[in-house]
Assembly symmetry: C2
Homo-oligomer: 376 residues x 2
Amino acid sequence: MSFIATPQFMHFEEALPLTSGASIRDYTLAYETYGTLNANRSNAVLVCHALNASHHVAGVYADQPKSEGWWDNMIGPGKPVDTNKFFVIGVNNLGSCFGSTGPMHTHPDTGEVYGSSFPVVTVEDWVNAQARLLDRLGIAQLSVVLGGSLGGMQALSWTLQHPDRMRHAVVVASAPNLTAENIAFNEVARRAIVTDPDFHGGDFYAHNVIPKRGLRIARMIGHITYLSDDVMNEKFGRELRGGIDLKYSTQDIEFQIESYLRHQGEKFSEYFDANTYLLITRALDYFDPARPHGGNLTLALARARAKFLLVSFTTDWRFSPQRSREIVKGLLDNRRDVSYAEIDAPHGHDAFLLDDPRYLSVMASYFDNAAKELSA
Amino acid sequence: MSFIATPQFMHFEEALPLTSGASIRDYTLAYETYGTLNANRSNAVLVCHALNASHHVAGVYADQPKSEGWWDNMIGPGKPVDTNKFFVIGVNNLGSCFGSTGPMHTHPDTGEVYGSSFPVVTVEDWVNAQARLLDRLGIAQLSVVLGGSLGGMQALSWTLQHPDRMRHAVVVASAPNLTAENIAFNEVARRAIVTDPDFHGGDFYAHNVIPKRGLRIARMIGHITYLSDDVMNEKFGRELRGGIDLKYSTQDIEFQIESYLRHQGEKFSEYFDANTYLLITRALDYFDPARPHGGNLTLALARARAKFLLVSFTTDWRFSPQRSREIVKGLLDNRRDVSYAEIDAPHGHDAFLLDDPRYLSVMASYFDNAAKELSA
């Protein structure tokens, strides 16, 4: 059983300018903290979340013993990111559906639910919103900014937008931008949502419906890309759900993998917001720090000052090791201090959330060293 | 400009027993033939088609100069499968929407459109239907049975169901069965179709609508799996459709890859039948000749008597070279005569339809040798 976590909320009246040219004001960020900020405020670790996650990174909620945070295996007392040493901050991004201001909330100007009018947010916007939260918490410089997948993109972007506000960046299972195939999968998921008749152009809240069909399809597609072919074969293979006899039906479930995917889609459609899905996948598509530098990642990374740990997983075909190596190369071109671990794990992209001992030990070592700096 | 092709139709009154236990009677098969059957009826090549294809394998229709068959680069006078030497037969499978009896046709018992009541058909059923067509055409033994992808599964199944009815089998970009990931992609596509409100449980014909939303999503997913990550990056990369300025929109097209996929989905939804999509993806899921042998492919392939050419493509992640090698190994275990070419091509699964010179030259050599047997 893990420690008790308590969500907190910080309200910001002042408008946050966004990359798109729009801005957002009177917004709230949900966050959690674990551990204790030390006297010289130097031991903070900011954890950035990926698509389907939130500020609830570790611990459990009181009286909800099964409510472990999404990175509870990584973060906590005595864990690789040791909350006996670090003050860990999890923050929910703008546009999310888990507590921070999002499309299901009310626009302060109109008094109407945002819906489709919620502004498009980028990784850079999230980072700036997170920086304002750190200002409020009185944290000038982080020990570590940490994230996996889309969270890794935020960690990387932190080192470029606010290069002096962290000593370390830990970027796990991430990429310097999406490939055409990555964008393609996002686009199919978005089309499934947007063309669901219950989407109503994004204003489905007013119609008291949820575009569940689209959300289910989006989640099923996502799930396929989180797992490796190998682990799918090992977990499900061609196993039938109904024993050895085939039903010969195009719509009934025959294979275990179908049952698993339908279940994942169903669960997701019951709690995830459709507009949030569009916003977050778009933020993924847009992220591309090399773009203003003509696609030259080395030039883009010249601003970074942090020390880096990059981690990738051999069977991750969503954000393959090659994508992490591009970041490593760009940093080395700039003579930055980089550690890189390519973990031989069977689980695909999902590996960054799982208990691979080599992975956890690489993370533990890196954070141990970062902790030693604190007492030095 | 290619030669003129003419579709033909053969009607079968007698019921065809199906793997499911059901049967189908009073059905029609659409087919085309190219070249001339020789005097001893030994030069026939049967071409089996994949998901989105038909009996129109090569040539063009009169007065439709752009109507080339789907394998027109492979088959014709002087081409790798040379119709000056071979009598080539293309046949449309049962359940298709391109001419043979399918879900949009009328059930002979009820006089109603089949719709959702069209029987589930398997690769084995298709092969048996094709065998009946050969009986009618007076062809006891093929020179070659040939197919790519799902067509390759049919070619493989021919060698097990009717081992003495061909001298050669050419199996391109295929697999001995689908992986869990393959089934997963099929299942998402089917769910997108089935949950489209315009699907009406498969009986949408009576409602005068088409489940286009679902078909579009299904095709977009399919298309991603036909292409390699590399070729997608080369063809589209992160190129924007609207020049250099971003729109910051979740629904407008930003990237060329989005535009391409939407276009492919749209086109497909205008001509492909939703029930056919379900039937064909299910036939893919079910195909598994090793299943009755406890998953032992070597045991399953013991029945085969043909000589084999297997071809795979290095960047095909849908039916990877490893899957073709499984078939090669199973055949070699049985001391069969097998040639195998693993073509280093960038185009992913789609490569089997494209003009890779090494691929075309492997095919040409193999068919040249098969042709020499005819005159020997």
